[in-house]
Amino acid sequence: MSDEQPPVEITVYENGPAVIRGAYRLQDKDREEIDPGRETIALCRCGLSALKPFCDGNHALRGAARSAL
């Protein structure tokens, strides 16, 4: 049992990213591994991130104008 890898778990948040946990491997289209430098990651689903494939919180820019920035 102790050798078993935990299943990859993907949690999709409404109006937010997909949070990935577990023994995933992240890679680009050439199958080169992308090292996120952390175990749990959030992947962008809105296309607004400047750090794709990772989420950088830019989803908050959608919708209401953030004129006070």
Binding site: N15, V19, A42, G57, A60, L61, S67, L69
Partner: protein
């Protein structure tokens, strides 16, 4: 850490008392704190109240050189702290407006919207595009009281909640402490940021220069964290801190790079970009969403905690922008000896 310099009658009496043996506090101190409801206009920005409260809480964190540890649980001093907290809480709540039609199940979406990436008074945009290196250093000094103890006040909440909210809180906190890896906790990264900017990373090194509006960010967390009845409030405080944080920290990192900050200096901000993209979801949905569902009598306290946090952040940002607009320093002048 040494005791700070007093900033008024309460802190003068308090610090004199702390230098002695633990015991009953002088009646003069009790009279002063009993009069605070009349003598304090807004405890959030009152220098005497905030430095006194910060020092009372400091006994529960690092303690002070020359101050007997017995003071931490001395009933007479806890009564003084309680009087300081009462006036602080009065002024926090006076400025909180609960939305009338908000229901518990709407809380996660409400928090995500409320705590979005905007910061009051245009401070974020200024840090990103205009701040000088000197102004960056000032900002880092202001935030050092909190940054060098990052996550600690929220840890007080762990034994106070159960179930899904606790699990989400622990997942966030473990990350804040670098997953247990020495040197990787966010407070360690803050010390690196300070060192890279030629600032002293020792906790409290700049305490006498840090104004009340900056101290209140930390005293708010400590008050929420140290009181069971504010366990919802401390979770709301954490959510308000995490939500929007990725967005804010990316712009701080870019702003610091603009004025020549090294990659190592920016590590603190860069770490928060990816970490808090996860944390903001955990905080809003898993932690706060679970808490309001599992503790139905306390959901409003959580929202009040988030609102009070944003109000204090607004006061802090406003005071800095105002000082810089007047082309002065946002820090307090050191007393000349």
């Amino acid at each position: 850490m040494r005791l700070p310099a007093p900033r008024g009658p309460v802190s003068t009496a308090l610090f004199a008392c702390l230098s002695g043996e633990p015991g009953p506090v002088p009646s003069r101190l009790t009279e002063l704190v009993d009069a605070l409801p009349e003598t304090t206009a807004d405890a959030r920005s009152d220098e005497d109240v905030q430095i006194s409260l910060w020092t009372c809480y400091g006994l529960a964190y690092d303690g002070f050189e020359g101050v007997d540890e017995g003071w931490e649980w001395q009933p007479s001093l806890l009564a003084v702290r309680g009087a300081l907290e009462a006036v602080f809480e009065r002024d926090l709540l006076a400025d909180v407006r609960m939305p009338e039609d908000l229901s518990p199940e709407q809380v996660p979406a409400f928090l995500m919207d409320l705590c979005g990436p905007s910061t009051p008074a245009g401070l974020l945009k200024f840090m990103h595009q205009n701040a000088t290196l000197g102004q960056f250093k000032e900002m880092v000094i202001h935030r050092s009281i909190d940054g060098l103890h990052e996550a600690d006040a929220h840890t007080w909440a762990i034994p106070r909640v159960t179930g899904r909210a606790k699990s989400a809180l622990i997942e966030i906190q473990a990350d804040e402490y670098g997953g247990g890896m020495p040197g990787r906790s966010h407070s360690d990264l803050y010390a690196i940021l300070m060192t890279e900017l030629d600032l002293d990373p020792e906790y409290g090194a700049y305490i006498d220069q840090i104004p009340a509006a900056s101290l209140s960010i930390h005293t708010l967390r400590s008050m929420f964290g140290l009181h069971h009845r504010w366990r919802g409030g401390i979770l709301g405080n954490l959510a308000a801190t995490e939500i929007g944080s990725s967005f804010i920290n990316r712009r701080f990192s870019e702003g610091l790079a603009r004025v020549g900050g090294s990659k190592k200096a920016r590590w603190f901000y860069d770490e928060h970009i990816l970490a808090d993209a996860v944390h903001e979801q955990l905080a809003a949905h898993d932690m706060c969403g679970a808490f309001v569902a599992d503790y139905p009598a306390e959901w409003e306290r959580l929202v009040i905690g988030a609102l009070a946090t944003l109000n204090i952040r607004g006061l802090f940002a406003g005071s800095i922008v105002e000082a810089w607009a007047a082309e002065g320093t946002s820090l307090r002048a050191l007393a000349t000896v």
